[in-house]
Subunit: 206 residues, 2 copies
């Protein structure tokens, strides 16, 4: 099987980026990260890229008249690096560029630390803990113009009934995120996802 060519977008620590790269190095994820694109020149993710000799592209929001133009620049970079799959790993801006979303339709994925549609938004683990759910989890979904509501590729439940705080909940879910994201990235080297209505179904390469 050919390795899937991946671009990672991250704004912060990039712990999922790091986890995927480690799975790749361990031979458990048939992918090659061609570029890290970040909007944050101070993102710790940058040093992970440098440690692994992955090119880094920094995009400064202030250099663009609007988000449409900024996302066009992202699209140009994805094209240039030959990205087949775009992996959001803590990218804190919502992708809004129409050209980007159309050109990379069903090729941009995000991970969310809850079982969507429960607990969307930026404080999912805290929200789940405070709601008192016993089961939360991880959702990996395609990114479209909606917020946290693109077609779901993969979900995994995490038992949080013993968690004593929002922080403990987040830490437990993060462990599942790291494995799940690498597994899903790997799946793109072995097939694709057919999206019918809102339902995504894996179709292995023949």
């Amino acid at each position: 099987m050919a390795k899937v060519k991946v671009a990672v977008l991250a704004s912060g620590r990039g712990s999922n980026f790091k986890a995927i790269q480690e799975h790749i190095k361990a031979g458990r994820c048939d992918a090659e990260i061609k570029v890290l694109i970040t909007n944050n020149p101070d993102a710790p993710a940058i040093s992970i890229a440098k440690d692994n000799k992955i090119p880094v592209e920094i995009i400064d929001k202030s250099g663009f008249p609007d988000r449409e133009k900024m996302d066009e620049r992202i699209k140009e970079l994805l094209d240039r690096y030959g990205a087949e799959l775009v992996v959001l790993a803590g990218y804190m801006l919502i992708l809004k560029g129409r050209k980007l979303l159309e050109s990379y339709k069903n090729r941009i994925i995000n991970i969310h630390p809850a079982l969507l549609p429960a607990f969307p938004g930026a404080t999912a683990q805290k929200d789940a803990f405070e709601y008192g759910v016993k089961v939360s989890g991880v959702t990996i979904h395609f990114v479209d113009e909606s917020l946290d509501a693109g077609p779901i590729i993969y979900q995994e439940a995490v038992d949080i009934s013993d968690c004593k705080s929002a922080e403990e909940t987040a830490a437990k879910i993060l462990k599942t995120e790291h494995k799940a994201y690498a597994k899903v990235v790997d799946s793109f080297s072995k097939g694709h996802y057919a999206v019918e209505g809102r339902r995504a179904r894996f179709v292995p390469s023949s």
Copy 2:
């Protein structure tokens, strides 16, 4: 341990009622169902009760001026049969009586065929299937004045990624419902649930 004295409220087929009764007979659920209360004189649940020599009380909504009075009648029956735990098993009316809800606070439980707060309401399995989630499940929660939003006692995930229809989804979740509900009813013979904020925590009897 003493058996927990249960009243079941059902309006329809009562498949969860039947499952709990079977677990009791098999010695896997330390409970005794003292009465079936139904608002539907044609409910198939009635014959399950009769087969098991469980008294049946039929409450006709039209016989009461309002729901407050009807729920007062339910409270009287619960008191008379000495119910320690009230189990809703497909009871299609929302409990609204203030006296009933206060007197039996944290002693009325309901089962919902989804991982709340995702997919509340009467068509949870269909909604989950159509949304395209890969993981749904079962929630058992205390009943309060809210709809499907009382403190959660128990949740169990069900992988529905292979389900091909809403019906298949419902059937798969129902199997988990039957086991989970009997397990939670049994837990009330071994302790109680402390509710702090929205979070419910099992406290074993000393």
